[in-house]
């Protein structure tokens, strides 16, 4: 292996690692706040990428229908809950939050579709359109069982993944799509091998976004509420943090991350309706390295997964995934030796 080859592989690995980093942050965010391993995260990535591809092809993305349907379901669930509690005064607010808010990006996307607009507009429309997906499906399917065991939540989220991925096949078809690069051009490394500007953009995006993430958690009230819920759900409730609201916030944040990942990877990899799952799975390896709770360890794990994957594809293309997922074994061994086992406490929380 020469230096140029190692450099190119590292650049490729870091770009992949950047994607896994963002996805890993999303998974840890959702898990720490809600105890849900959010498997459909990958599907939201695929929806974002394929929505952008649909915009570029001049079609109206079918995602609009999905978001509207989900919004109707979530609204019905919310109104039913309020009606049962006879809290009619809060209904207009629910109507606004679960009905009108998710409909806004749909209207925007509908207006954008089929026109020739600058790439920025379609990208914003794609991201905005997928942001409501995770909070809405979580409201419909996961919130009613929010206090079930981690295993039940995992199975429910797995079922949601199969549902979304099936819908993806129905909406976008079995074929893969690539979108136009966000930035053109390439940087030539010494030795003549080029590194595309898109790779650099992905790495830069990961750095900026994880920086923003850090600031959000350290400096804002909402961020602190999320952290409080993650550390102790009962304690957070006692000081007046509503678990349903923090959960919606966590899902919204994860959905936004997934949307960003989608538009970042779509130009460099061929996205299929089920591609997101593999990205999510590798990010999950990173999240496991971070113990599903530590953001810095998850970030380090994500970069390690990206680099190992890239070098493994050079040494043995066919065994690449085996090597990446094989990383889990030593990591789990180490963790079980170093970290004291925390029992999964059955918490008594209602509503």
């Amino acid at each position: 292996m020469t230096w140029e080859v190692a450099l190119i592989l590292s650049a490729d690995g870091l770009a992949n690692g950047a994607v896994y980093l963002l996805a890993g942050l999303g998974l840890v965010l959702v898990f720490s706040v809600t105890r849900v391993v959010f498997v459909p995260f990958g599907d939201v990535i695929a929806f974002s990428a394929l929505t952008l591809a649909a915009f570029e092809a001049g079609r109206t993305p079918p995602t609009i229908g999905l978001v509207l349907t989900l919004a109707l379901l979530a609204l019905a669930a919310e109104l039913w809950r309020l009606a049962r509690r006879r809290e009619f005064a809060r209904m207009p607010r629910a109507l606004l939050l679960w009905g009108l808010l998710p409909a806004l990006p749909c209207v925007f996307a509908w207006a954008v579709a089929g026109r020739t607009l600058p790439a920025v507009v379609t990208i914003v429309a794609s991201i905005a359109l997928v942001v409501p997906i995770a909070p809405l499906i979580a409201r419909v399917a996961l919130q009613p069982i929010a206090d079930a065991s981690v295993l039940v939540l995992l199975i429910a989220s797995l079922a949601l993944h199969f549902l979304l991925s099936g819908l993806g096949l129905l909406f976008f078809g079995p074929e893969g799509f690539r979108t136009e690069p966000l930035v053109g051009g390439a940087l030539t490394l010494p030795g003549g091998f080029p590194v595309s500007a898109q790779t650099l953009l992905m790495i830069a995006a990961a750095i900026v976004l994880s920086g923003l993430f850090y600031l959000l958690f350290e400096r804002t009230l909402h961020g602190k509420a999320l952290r409080a819920t993650a550390i102790n759900r009962v304690g957070a409730r006692l000081v007046g943090i509503r678990p349903a609201r923090t959960a919606a916030l966590a899902y919204g944040g994860a959905s936004l991350l997934a949307g960003l990942i989608g538009v970042l990877v779509a130009p460099v990899t061929t996205m299929y309706y089920d591609s997101g799952f593999i990205i999510g799975l590798k990010a999950f390896v990173a999240a496991i390295i971070g113990g599903l709770s530590s953001y810095p360890l998850t970030a380090a794990g994500a970069l390690a997964v990206g680099l190992v994957e890239s070098f493994a594809s050079f040494w043995s293309g066919a065994l690449k995934d085996v090597i990446v997922f094989g990383m889990l074994i030593p990591v789990l061994l180490l963790r079980s030796l170093l970290v004291a086992r925390v029992e999964d406490e059955e918490e008594e929380i209602d509503g």
Partner: protein
């Protein structure tokens, strides 16, 4: 799509059942293809091609033909189960299918066990299965054409990058068989999975070996990955593919990166560009017209044409079987007669080639079933 097909199949069955008030029993064709799952980009065209075939020849020797379509979800186990269901519940006279070699093999096994003839639409591994033939070209025939072209273009060394599955192996083995005889050295064997996001590592290894050309062993849109990686890394040598890449979606995803790539295919892909005396030109143009009428879209892939050819081979054999034996369709005796007729097919002109089957050989095409095409600005151009 799937619903539409199921509905269509149901209507076909329904119409045929009504018409079955007639005295003679109908002929039944059981088609199992991948309408969902990773192989659906092949399976959907197969099903559409079969619809066109049914519209082209709905009646064979005075008997109506029923078409029953099942989805195997790109899963070999389901394909095998579908085959058994079609034979045992629907009592089909002939099986056809499917996308992907493993699923086709699974169906072939059932066909042999239940003594029902099968016309495969995908290449199959050479086995001594007396009940199965295939209309696809053998991989060796196609790869031989590529190697001949490499030799003509002065290629001395070639790197290989393909799928890490049966398809990648088939193409690689065919290349290893043909290349030494042509004085071409195969210098690399890199593999990737259909679901991989990037093949930069594998492409770097190939480039480091400085081959005169690169041959890829992929199919469909995932097959575009090596072309994109090689173009990104600035590879300037020759690019060769195989018939698994003849697909409109491949062109869309590969874009400019595959420009100038040379691939073998059945002549139907460039039917309009063939010389007027080419044996398959006429039927290929007819097929396109029928396909357009039935599916309201032009055909651009090779797969739908295999279905059409499968139907033509079946129609010819069924005619001869009905003439030769007094067995009624739906009986074991008729299935045996049909099998005997299929394996003695002589000069049946299809869209992909001219079919001559003989017992002991699953393949029935010759050099007339392949041409080399070049991808030029998103269009396949005949490269004689």
């Amino acid at each position: 799509m799937k619903n539409k097909l199921i509905r269509y199949a149901a209507v076909a069955v329904g119409v045929a059942t009504l018409a079955a008030g007639a005295l003679a029993a109908d002929l039944k064709v059981g088609l199992s293809v991948s309408l969902s799952g990773p192989n659906s980009s092949l399976g959907i065209p197969y099903a559409k091609g079969m619809r066109a075939a049914l519209a082209y020849l709905p009646v064979i020797a005075g008997r109506k033909v029923q078409l029953i379509v099942l989805d195997d979800g790109s899963d070999p186990t389901t394909a095998g189960r579908n085959a058994r269901k079609l034979i045992e519940e629907d009592k089909v006279d002939v099986l056809m299918g499917t996308s992907g070699v493993p699923s086709t093999m699974a169906m072939a096994q059932v066909a042999e066990e239940d003594k029902t003839p099968m016309i495969g639409l995908a290449p199959i591994s050479p086995t001594a299965n007396p009940w199965v033939v295939t209309v696809a070209q053998p991989t060796q025939l196609m790869v031989d054409a590529v190697v001949e072209r490499m030799k003509r273009n002065g290629v001395k060394t070639v790197g290989y990058i393909g799928f890490s599955d049966a398809w990648g192996d088939l193409v690689y083995n065919a290349l290893m068989k043909a290349a030494p005889a042509a004085g071409i050295k195969v210098v690399g064997n890199e593999r990737y999975a259909r679901s991989d996001q990037s093949v930069t590592g594998q492409a770097l290894r190939i480039i480091a070996l400085h081959p005169d050309a690169v041959m890829t062993g992929g199919a469909g849109t995932p097959g575009a990955l090596p072309f994109l990686a090689l173009a990104d890394l600035g590879y300037k040598g020759g690019l060769y593919g195989q018939h698994g890449l003849i697909n409109a979606d491949f062109i869309r995803v590969a874009g400019a990166s595959a420009n100038g790539a040379l691939m073998p295919t059945g002549p139907v892909i460039v039917a309009g560009q063939l010389p007027a005396n080419y044996p398959t030109k006429q039927i290929a143009l007819t097929f396109r017209k029928v396909y357009q009428q039935v599916n309201h879209a032009p055909t651009t892939d090779a797969f739908s044409a295999y279905s059409f050819d499968g139907w033509l081979v079946f129609a010819d054999a069924a005619k001869r079987a009905l003439a030769a034996s007094h067995a009624q369709p739906g009986t074991p005796a008729f299935r045996t007669a049909l099998r005997d007729a299929i394996v003695s097919t002589k000069e049946v002109v299809g869209t992909h080639g001219v079919y001559n089957f003989k017992p002991g050989d699953a393949y029935g095409v010759d050099r007339r079933a392949r041409v080399i095409v070049k991808l030029e600005n998103g269009k396949w151009k005949l490269a004689p």
